[in-house]
Every structure is written in structure tokens, then in C-alpha cells.
Symmetry: C2
Subunit: 414 residues, 2 copies
């Protein structure tokens, strides 16, 4: 009567999922709408940065060799023949001890090769004196010292963060080629589910997974289409799943993937002719997490238990979507931290614990069961305890996956 499922290791499940990602193609967005998108082209320097030799200080541009021998007892005087701010180009061609009063960011006048900072000079009546010699290129910000022309500064597949925006602006990318975002459908299944606005009645609970997944997608900058709630009825659910799968690049369902009498997702996958990549993972929570592919599209069957659903999204859905978008860093960032309280349960399978991480120490964020919801709200990380281990004690160093970080890591390290 019981269907027997063979659990596969988490790392194998992750690899199986990301292996099936197809590329979504690209689109052009304006620079101001590019934050949090994935670059679909490398950023190539169209010109050097800085684009010209410039003054990094407010001061005076001089020809350094005419400062030779300056000292406190023998100050050398320069004549100020021009005065430029940033954005201005001096027409003077310097010779001898002619100098230009110059502001930060302005290009060096012709023949000048050093900048005397204001605080290194005494100005009086159209000239100034210095009491030390200046080296060629002293206090000069050189053309190309930050970026050389033609240099590939940022690789395709990088997340566009604010610094990337600055770089794109520097090189004149008013439009940016980015990866298209997937169209995602969310369908929450379960006869026990009420909508968030409904009144609680005996035996029922409100649907928290649907809104949570929508927020997990929003965190990635991805919109979604909600297919509402579906009772545990095979034919009805099949029709909704079929329609949703046709309308989206990827359908995320919650619930219905276990072996209960009303868990119809396995039967629906079969009717759709979907290839089930796995339906059991050696992990807690979320062991029943199922991922299938139909017509190249993902069908993510997440557990109906909130903590399991949350973890399944972060471990499997997130990297798959990022891979579809051509991202290079698709995995949650990994670090290690010091466990600040005992965790005495044994771990027959890899365990993911919603946890509060403070940059050094970490502890479980609350009640630890797959159906817990409060701990998801209180956590900002997942503690990962390997399967086959006994309890852990305060002071142990544990693996941690960080949540809510803009860009992840390129390698799955667990």
C-alpha cells in the first residue's frame, strides 16, 4: 500500500535540479531599472577610467622638474596663469614655473605632470611658493589607473548591484542587456487551507506558504502569478496544474507531494507525462520535496509544511531560477559560525535549522519542526547539520547558509 521512495542526498538533488535549467533569453532595460537583474553581457570598458590624467586634489598643476631643489630655506615660486575647475580644460601649455590652479577632477593642463596640494603651498597675489621638490606624476590620478580601455570589468551572469550600476553609468550604458525573468506560478494545495482574509474555522489553517513563496520570489526581484488555493481533488487540481504549467516557465506547488490519501501531485505529474527528478531527499525538513520537469519546464512540488516549504524553495527553486537567468552565483552563500546553544537531536539525515546569525554566533530561531512557522520569521540563516551525526553542543563550529543576501556563491559547498 505504501509507495516506497528512495531518498537521494541533498547535493545530488541540487545538481539534478540545476542541470535541467533552460536559458530564458535576454531583454533590454534602462539603467535605472537594472538593479537586482542579471547581466546578460559583460561590462567592457569603452574607455580608460579615469579617461584622462587628472588632479585628485584641489591645488596647482606644475611641471615637476622646475620644483627641483625646493626646500624651506629656498622656496620656489610658481606663477598662476590659469584657474580651472572639474569639467574645464585649460588652454595653457605650461612652461617653466607657470602653474594652473586646479580643482579635484580637472584634467592636467598640457605639459604639467604633478599636483601641489593647497596645503603644500603658500599662495600670494597670483603666485605660490613650495618648499619641497615634486616627483613626476606626484599627486596625479593617471588615465586608466582604475580600468584600462577594453578591459572586461564585470562578467556576464553577475548580479547588478549598486556598484555595477555606477560602472555601467561610467561607460554610458543607458540601456543594459539583462536576462529575462521567469514567469512563475504559485499554487497552494490542501483542503485545510483558508485564504489570509478568511476567518479561522475548526480543522483549517490559513495559507501561509503561498504568500511566503511570493515574498521569497520578491526578494529575488521576481514577480509571480498566484493560482490560488486548490482542494485535494485530483481532477480539479490536474486542470489547474495543467493550465498553470502552460502559462508559466515554472510552477511551484505546495502540499500534496507526500504519500497521504489525498496527496495527488504524484498522480498529476504522471498524467502530465512529467519526468520526476526526485521525490525524496535525505533531509529534514522537506524530505518529500519533489521536482519534476514537463516540456522542459520545472514543476516544483514543495512540502505543505511551512519550514519544509521555505527550505525547499531556498535550496532548490532559487538556484534553478538563477541558473535560468544565466546567473553565475546561484547558491546561497555559505559560511561557518559558532553554535551558541546545544542542539541535542541526532541527525539521521542532513538537517536544515532556521537560525539567527549575528556575524559570529548562531542559534536555532525557535521551535524546530517541519510545520513550524515562527522560526522562519525569526531566522536569517540556516544551520546545516550533516546526516549521520549526533547532537551538537554550544561552541561547535557549524555550516551556515545565509538568507536574504543579494548575491550568492558560484559553488555548492555542502
Amino acid at each position: 500500500m505504501m509507495e516506497t521512495r528512495k531518498p537521494i542526498p541533498v547535493s545530488e538533488a541540487v545538481m539534478k535540479v540545476v542541470d535541467h535549467a533552460y536559458a530564458l533569453g535576454t531583454e533590454t532595460v534602462s539603467l535605472e531599472n537594472s538593479y537586482n537583474r542579471i547581466l546578460a553581457e559583460p561590462v567592457i570598458a569603452a574607455h580608460p577610467v579615469p579617461p584622462f590624467d587628472r588632479s585628485p586634489y584641489d591645488g596647482y598643476a606644475i611641471i615637476s622638474k622646475f620644483s627641483a631643489g625646493a626646500c624651506g630655506e629656498h622656496r620656489i615660486s610658481f606663477d598662476i596663469v590659469d584657474h580651472i575647475g572639474a569639467g574645464e580644460v585649460s588652454r595653457e601649455i605650461l612652461t617653466g614655473t607657470k602653474a594652473v590652479r586646479i580643482m579635484t577632477g580637472a584634467p592636467l593642463p598640457e605639459n604639467s605632470d604633478a599636483i601641489v596640494m593647497f596645503e603644500q603651498a603658500v599662495e600670494f597675489d597670483g603666485s605660490f611658493t613650495i618648499r619641497k621638490p615634486f616627483e613626476p606624476l606626484e599627486n596625479v590620478s593617471l588615465q586608466g589607473e582604475d580600468v584600462s580601455q577594453g578591459e572586461k570589468v564585470i562578467e556576464s551572469g553577475s548580479l547588478i548591484q549598486p556598484g555595477t550600476v555606477a560602472l555601467l553609468a561610467t561607460f554610458g550604458y543607458a540601456q543594459v542587456e539583462v536576462s529575462k525573468q521567469p514567469t512563475i506560478g504559485i499554487l497552494s494545495t490542501g483542503s485545510e487551507l483558508l485564504d489570509v482574509a478568511e476567518k479561522l474555522v475548526p480543522g483549517k489553517i490559513r495559507n501561509s506558504n503561498g504568500p511566503m513563496i511570493a515574498a521569497q520570489l520578491a526578494r529575488m526581484g521576481i514577480a509571480c502569478k498566484t493560482y490560488g488555493l486548490s482542494a485535494d481533488k485530483l481532477d480539479e487540481s490536474f486542470e489547474i496544474v495543467q493550465q498553470a504549467a502552460a502559462e508559466t516557465d515554472c510552477l511551484i506547488t505546495t502540499g500534496g507531494v507526500s504519500v497521504g490519501d489525498f496527496d495527488f501531485l504524484p498522480a498529476i505529474y504522471e498524467r502530465l507525462g512529467a519526468q520526476v527528478l526526485f521525490n525524496k531527499v535525505a533531509m529534514r525538513p522537506g524530505s518529500v520535496t519533489t521536482v519534476a520537469v514537463a516540456d522542459g519546464k520545472y514543476l516544483f512540488g514543495l512540502s505543505g509544511n511551512p519550514s519544509a516549504c521555505f527550505t525547499g524553495f531556498e535550496l532548490f527553486v532559487r538556484p534553478a531560477l538563477l541558473k535560468m537567468m544565466g546567473a553565475r552565483k546561484i547558491y546561497l552563500p555559505h559560511t561557518t559560525a559558532i553554535l551558541s546553544e546545544d542542539f541535542t537531536k541526532a541527525n539521521p539525515f542532513t538537517r536544515f535549522i532556521r537560525a539567527a546569525y549575528d556575524g559570529q554566533n548562531i542559534k536555532p530561531a525557535g521551535f524546530n519542526k517541519s510545520n513550524a512557522v515562527a522560526s522562519i520569521a525569526k531566522g536569517n540563516a540556516l544551520i546545516v547539520l550533516p546526516g549521520g551525526t549526533r547532537g551538537f553542543t554550544a561552541g561547535d563550529t557549524v555550516d551556515v547558509l545565509l538568507l536574504g543576501v543579494e548575491e550568492g556563491q558560484a559553488e555548492w559547498k555542502l
Copy 2:
């Protein structure tokens, strides 16, 4: 001739800024629009979670005491008198060895106090047998075990992350009270600035700070109004600043805050009657960062140098805006990491270096000058080296502030 400014320590500058934040008030948003907003009310449990004793497994609900004495040689048989899925309530009141076939999430039938999992039973023709006794409450998910009714689960001032959304949904918050977001203006000053779409000409560079700050705000979920570019002209700039300050809660300018001949922000602050909180910070880059307050509103005068501008935003603007929004965790998250290459420069002042952090090691993200732009795009963290220190070498543990993390820390730790 030179104005002398007294630098103040970074920590003092941060405190001066956040001390001047005024609260923006609150507004109501729908749950689906609540991600990344700041909760303006605590989340109080309107009911226990779970709301009723329920089965965490697919199996059979029994009265435990009638399982006493069961063993391999003496299997005890139970009669299945009902069959419920999640969302259903059994009308049966159990007695003796009557049992209900029950699915995950369904409420325990009256009188039952334990769940026999499918794999713990052999079912045949309307009944099943077990070979071990069950304890009272064995395999039961108890009402309130996750959250008690009336419990304050999440504090006001918390960032709404996906787990928070799940919790809000659980308790029926279709609408959520959140802090209003500030209206931010951005004005980029400097005669050298071209718009991103303009062709490069001698002596000019494109404005990268304006788009970068807009993206730094977008990362916080905050929109902004751009006041374009302003040449270094006092009267014109004053009028734009005055107008922008009147139309926004906070005006961020870039450039014009140093002591150059065309740095007019100090004069503008004076004309506005603004109180300058500081105009020199003992830090690199960004020592000229200036923060003023006029009519209670912030005027952030960030450096025109991209790296300095970026750092000034993250250190001063970000916590100030979060404080205005009533957030509790307003500072960049702090951690430590191992420097993976030498950094030989001495640090007369606190130094912030754009850096690439991989969860364990960290290294400068490239060319390290205040006018660098590539390193902002390549970094995901800031190394913080204390003022008064000499060079650091590979293997040293250094302070790190993480960028692009959803929620920060409540304490400034540096």
C-alpha cells in the same frame, strides 16, 4: 585661505546622524506588498499555532491506552471508523480500539491522543494492527507548540522578510501596518558631469554617483526623485537644493563638499540656515562627507568620488533612513574575516576598503582610491581597518561590514 575642518571619529559621526532621525509615521499595505517594509506594529498571535492538536503524519488516530501491551507476538487490532484528510473534522468520538485514518494536518478526533504512522501499522480490510504500545501524545502536534495565543512573535521595527510574511498570513494580516518610506531626492553636482547617455568629451566624466545612489536606495526598497545634474554655480545650485529640500524628506547631494574653489555646498548650507552636524570624518575614503539638518530634514553631502560616495551612503545615509522608518536593525551587519592578501598601506584614519568576501576570506576588490569605481562593482563587503594602524598582512583577522544583506544589526560595533 584654507578652511580648517576638525575631523570626528566615524562612530561619533554615525551617532550624530542617527540621533537626528525623525519618525515618518505609518501606512497600511496589503500583505503581498509588505515584503522588505518595516513593521510598524508587533505581530501578536491571534490564536495558537497550531490552532488545534493535529496529526503531523499520515496514519491513524487512536486512544493510546488501548495500545498497552502491544508487541510482535501480541499485535493489537484497531477498527477504522472514519477517514479524514487535512481540513476535515471527524464526527467520531473514539472509544476503545476504534481509530480514524487521518492525514497530515488534520485535527485529532475527539478522545484520540496518539497517531500511529502508516509505517508503524499493517492495515487489512477496515482495520489495522500495531506491535508496540503508544504513549499519550505520541506523534501529536500540539495546539500552541509553535506559538502561544497572545504571544508577541515579532517586534515592531523588524524588516518584513519572507518568513515574516508567512507568519502574518498565518494570523490573518491581509493588511499590514508598516512605516512610511522617506521621499528622497538625489542631486549630483559638478561641472564635469555628463548624463549617462551623453558622449564623452575632454575633461568630462559621466555621472555615476546619481544612478548608484538610486540603486543603493532601490536595494533598501526605497524610491527616489532625481534632480539631475547641477554645475558648480552657487545661485543655481542653491535654488535647486532649496526646492529639492522642500519637496523631500531627505536630499542627497554628491560633490561640492570639499574646500575647492567651486565647492558650494558649505555656502548653500549656510544660506539655508542648516545645522551642519559634521563636515569632516576621520575616515578614508569620504573624509569630506558632510551631514546637515535643515527644518528637521537631512541634507547628506556625499563626496563626488564614487568610492567615497558609496561608502558615505552605506555608513550614514542607510542607518538614518532606516531609523526614520522605525527599524531596529539599522547598521550594516558586522562580521570578521581572514585577509587573504597583504594590505601594506598605513591607516592614519579608519579605512573602508571595498572588498570581496567569500564567507571566510576577504580581499580588496581592486584599485583602492576614493575615485575608484570598478572596486565598488566587484565588492560585496567593506573591510574596516582602524585608524592609527600600520599595514595588514594575509592571514590577519579583520573587521568586515557586509553589503547587500536584507536586514542589518541593531548595534554599531566599530
